[in-house]
Amino acid sequence: MSAHDLWLLSPELSVAALGVIVIIADLILEKKTPLIWISVIGLTVPLTFALLLWFNTPDPEIGVFGTVTADRLALFFHFLLIGTTAAVIVASVTYSRKFAGFQGEYLALMLLSVSGMMLLASSRDIITAYLALEVSTLPVAALAAFLRTDRSLEAGLKFLLLSALSSAILLYGLVYLYGVTGTTDIGGILDAISGMSADGGRAFGSSALMLGVVMVIAGFGFKMAVAPFHMWVPDVYEGAPTPIVAFLSIASKSAAFAIVLRILYTALGSNDLAADWSVLLAILAAITMTAGNLLALTQRNIKRMLGYSTVAHAGYLLVGLAAVAANSDSEGFIAGPQGVLFYLVAYAFTNLAVFFAIIAITNKTGSDLISGFAGMARRAPFMSVLLALGLLSLLGIPPTAGFLGKIFVFSAAVDSGLAWLAVVGVINSVVSAFYYLRVVRTMFLDEPENDERVTADIPVWAATMTASAGLLIFGIAPSSLLEFARHAVSGVVT
């Protein structure tokens, strides 16, 4: 490791160091609330490093024996992950009283998990990517079980068992990629594949390569919550602490999309290979959207409903990944991934707003059932409006960021000859209106259980306000974020 390697890894390393500092401070401090502010203020250090890297590295730089890069794509995800984590930590000020005495471990595990996710976005080598995936997953399993109730423990064990199973499947695929190409370097895999004699009749040119790619997509599919690998989602979302659910639904999913984007567009980025995996992803996207939306229709628990909604949104995101232009001019090629990045940011703001509003309300009412939100517009008018705004953005109503995200991925799909997939997506959006608007109707039209006011604490109120402001700002003025996303993908998509 040279100084240059440390410089490229500085955002990841400083987040991990912050996690260790929080654990040590936990031993020293009597009161635990300052730990939250240490974490949030400490997160400005990795943010500064990421900003310095963004402005000081003109070319994608590669370090640590070619396994790690600090290119624009990685840095884009660093910003997204750091921002999400800071917001989740602020919003868990009140909630974390539920595990009094263990706030230090709670924060440290979350920070260590984020360092793994950031490394996942930066990795250029499949071994590094696998290790980063494990570093990001294992703390989340512990966090899901953090409430120590029956449901929470069950959520933790289910998450761990299914993520271990998916890791095994992913590894089998990665080893076949290594076996076929003789290299673990994501950039080197493409060179090795283009040097091989391909069997034109077969998808991906060889059965072994096809096996590898399919198993890699299946393995990462668990992390992205793609059907039919979404079985863990509803149970984990229902049982785990609500801030962790917000963290899982945004950070974990973004990191998985980052590495999948890098593997697909770098290691398997040649035109004939892209045509093959584009079909595979399009079919997965259609199944995922439909399954997520149909299963969400009958849910009574709002966290469980949002779990299925997450599955549906993974489907919309896959539409963007599948949108590799068949006409393969570089302009069309970039629209899909660019849309995915925009969608991920829009989805992050939206989902944070929704989950924070739910945290603010359920902190007082204690019930996750949708019926518990009856008449909430009278008991907590402001929070109800913000929650409704978030749900409308998930549904995709203008002028929210969620609407524009859907426009970008669906139009990229149409431009690349996947018009049928865009039609499936639009029909699914209409279906999703049913369950999102049902919550809004319950809040605004039903009679409240009692007239007791529900007031939010200042930290969670501020976090909800910030997330809602973001989803409105990027819904009205998307051009700067779109340009940012274009910069981020331009180095990877050629």
């Binding site: 071994i127 120590r148 064990l157 068992l161």
Partner: protein, 117 residues
Amino acid sequence: MTLENVLLVSAILFAIGLYGALTRRNAIVLLMSIELMFNAVNIAAIGFSRFTLPAALSGSRIEVTADTVQTALSGHVFAIFIIAAAAAEVALGLALVIAIYRQRQTTDVSELDTMRG
């Protein structure tokens, strides 16, 4: 012994593990089945490495450089990291199983059904 033999053993082991992971009810047996799948992956990784290393070293066309050796040894490195990560996974899994056993006196995952829908 050829690469095909090694990959066949690996595939059979992986299939046995996957079958166990999908059908067994006991959480500890589930962890064992998943461990079997990880070891199947290790065998494949070492197999690929073993049969590409001599080719890289003795092939007349390929010059032996630090690069080719590093490429061929990646499989070994991969296997070592997988063993370490699998150990961490099992440690956390057993901790969760113990926590659940203390509350419910069961390790049967089919009884973990407080959440439905």
